[in-house]
């Protein structure tokens, strides 16, 4: 007979139902996959929490943990976008400028021009989508390295953020009478949990589901792993590369909306340093610079780890410059990992 196949293998595949915790493991493996272990970021995070608790017991107070999660939610959201970019082997340095400029644009639309909230939010996200697609076009079709294109985004959109209100911040009381943000509810809370935490959590879950359970996610990983093999399999590598920059830009704008709502204002220089922190979070979370594997959950854990360090620096009353030094160390460590250095198994 021709080598036709039955729909499903009769052998194996249907493991006997096991103890609940084994089922949990099965589920974890299904979502996170053997190829994208999150053990290392989990271990780093647990270690950081233990050390933080020893240094200052204030760390584990619920109020502090809550503010830690809220403060980290913006970084978590942009780290998810960054994870998609790095999985295909590119990099996005522009996310912090997109966060600030789309936050400024949203505030400019709603405060100065009284654009209805829903329309302004839609315009913000749609604008980010277009920017992301254009960035992706320059990278995938014009073959400019993503490092260069997104460095241009980094400077250009910082400039746009400055231009939006002549270098000044925008808040509801930038006009008189004050015109409150219609989207302030994003920074409110539901059932005692901050909406910002809920949004970030949903973004992480959705990102992980897309990356590990859909064909699209598999295609992205295959491009980062071996682009030629992906092309030979008939994948539209250019379109897929464009799409990750669109995802990253839209999530950066979402983080900008969250940030503006939370702070009750937006500054042209908001979120300075977030791009490198997001990259550090992704690398720390187990996605190598070369792409091909890793998880969104790992990137989110990496962002939380950076959040823990930032929180600790605040609790100890240290100057913020330690934060920069920490990110530098993380990037060096991550670089060693990517090179197959001493930290790799």
């Amino acid at each position: 007979m021709p080598l036709t196949l039955r729909a499903e293998s009769a052998s194996g595949e249907r493991a006997a139902p096991a103890a609940p915790w084994a089922r949990l493991r099965q589920l974890t493996r299904l979502v996170l996959g053997r190829e994208g272990s999150v053990r290392r970021p989990v271990a780093f995070l647990v270690l950081a929490v233990i050390i933080a608790t020893i240094i200052t017991p204030d760390f584990v107070r619920p109020a502090n943990l809550d503010s830690l999660l809220v403060n980290s939610s913006f970084l978590v959201v942009i780290a998810v976008g960054e994870a998609f970019v790095i999985v295909v082997g590119s990099i996005d340095l522009g996310v912090e400028s997109l966060l600030a400029s789309f936050g400024m644009i949203l505030a400019w639309l709603t405060v100065f021009h009284a654009v209805p909230t829903g329309l302004a939010l839609a315009a913000t996200l749609a604008g980010a989508l277009l920017v992301g697609l254009f960035v992706g076009f320059l990278v995938a079709k014009v073959h400019i390295p993503s490092f260069v294109v997104t460095l241009g985004v980094y400077w250009g959109f910082r400039g746009i953020a400055l231009l939006a209100n002549g270098g000044q911040y925008i808040s509801p009381s930038s006009v008189s009478p004050a015109r409150p943000f219609g989207f302030a509810g994003i920074a409110g809370s539901s059932a005692g949990v901050s909406n910002l935490i809920i949004v970030a959590f949903c973004v992480v879950v959705a990102g992980q589901v897309v990356l590990s359970l859909t064909p699209f996610g598999l295609w992205l990983r295959s491009i980062g792993s071996n682009e030629q093999a992906a092309r030979r399999s008939g994948l539209q590598a250019d379109m897929l590369k464009m799409s990750v920059f669109a995802i990253s830009a839209v999530l950066a704008a979402l983080a900008g909306i969250m940030f503006t709502a939370w702070q009750g204002s937006i500054y042209p220089d908001s979120a300075t340093g977030y791009s490198l922190q997001a990259i550090a979070a992704v690398i720390l979370g187990g996605i190598p610079f070369t792409g091909g594997r890793g998880t969104v959950v790992g990137a989110a854990l990496g962002a939380l780890l950076i959040g823990v360090i930032n929180d600790l620096i605040v609790l100890l009353g240290l100057p913020a410059l330690y934060e920069y030094i920490f990110v530098a160390v993380v990037l060096l460590v991550a670089g060693m990992q990517a090179r197959g250095g001493p930290l790799v198994k």
């Binding site: 007979m1 021709p2 080598l3 499903e8 190829e35 071996n226 093999a229 399999s233 994948l235 091909g292």
Partner: protein, 259 residues
């Protein structure tokens, strides 16, 4: 496994795939020079020739990786265009196994097997269980020890070869193109590859095989095409042929050619 069935011989029926007056140039070099060839269903066609004879280019034209400058393809007698690897694979059932066996090293075997042609659940999601099971079945039927969840980066050269062929088996392609399948493989593993080719033949698949190893070609091929500097010089039945005969065809004819 399968019931045995009298496989179609090259009985003068319509060829499954034909090329007519195919020409492919790379700059000043004419890699394929006016090649006309019929390929019949169920045959194992060997292509031999010295380096630069145009063997790999010929396969790359059939697989849609390169496009000819002139000439035409016929599929079951009807003219067709071969525009891309994906089109060649899906519309004509031609599976190309590349010499460098490029795979995504970070993906598992089943993910590599189904890449670009995933089975889905609820339209949006990967049918992981179904694909894994189907991959396992094919790999077992090919008598390999490769497991669907092995990472591609953990496979040996021979195992990669088998996985690449398994892709053709999995999707029931009719024509499988193999570019030097035994070149990067140990002698023991080469025998596995050859027995896989015999299995494909026994199941009525059409195989086109390039190899430098003439003993491999003689061991599995039913017909052998000899390329010399881009031209198809001889097509011979593998009927009591020896390696010396082939070498004579490959090099003896060149001596008679000008230049």
């Amino acid at each position: 496994m399968g019931r045995t069935e009298a496989t179609a011989r090259q009985d003068g029926a319509v060829p499954v795939l034909s090329v007519r007056r195919l020409v492919k140039r790379f700059g000043a070099v004419t890699a394929i020079d006016d090649v006309t060839l019929d390929v019949y269903r169920g045959e194992v066609l060997g292509i031999v020739g010295d380096n630069g004879a145009g063997k790999s280019t010929f396969l790359s034209l059939l697989s849609g990786y390169h496009h000819p400058d002139s000439g035409e393809f016929r599929y079951h007698g009807a003219p067709v265009r071969i525009t891309s690897p994906a089109q060649s694979r899906r519309e004509l059932g031609i599976e190309m196994v590349y010499q460098d066996l490029a795979m995504s090293p970070d993906l598992t075997v089943w993910q590599n097997l189904f890449l670009g042609e995933e089975r889905r659940r609820w339209r949006l999601f990967l049918d992981r269980r179904g694909m894994r099971g189907q991959a396992r079945e094919v790999l077992e039927r090919m008598r390999t020890k490769i497991r669907p969840d092995d990472l591609a980066s953990d496979l040996s050269g021979g195992e990669r070869q088998l996985v690449a062929v398994a892709r053709g088996v999995l999707f029931d392609r009719d024509i499988i193109l193999l570019d030097e399948p035994t070149a990067a493989v140990s002698v023991a593993k080469a025998e596995d590859v050859l027995s896989t080719i015999r299995d494909l033949h026994a199941h009525g698949k059409t195989v086109i095989l390039i190899s430098h190893r003439l003993e491999d070609v003689l061991a599995v091929c039913t017909r052998i095409a000899v390329f010399v500097t881009g031209r198809l010089e001889h097509v011979v039945k593998n009927d009591g042929l020896t390696a010396e005969d082939l070498i004579h065809l490959m090099f003896g004819s060149r001596a008679g050619r000008p230049g």
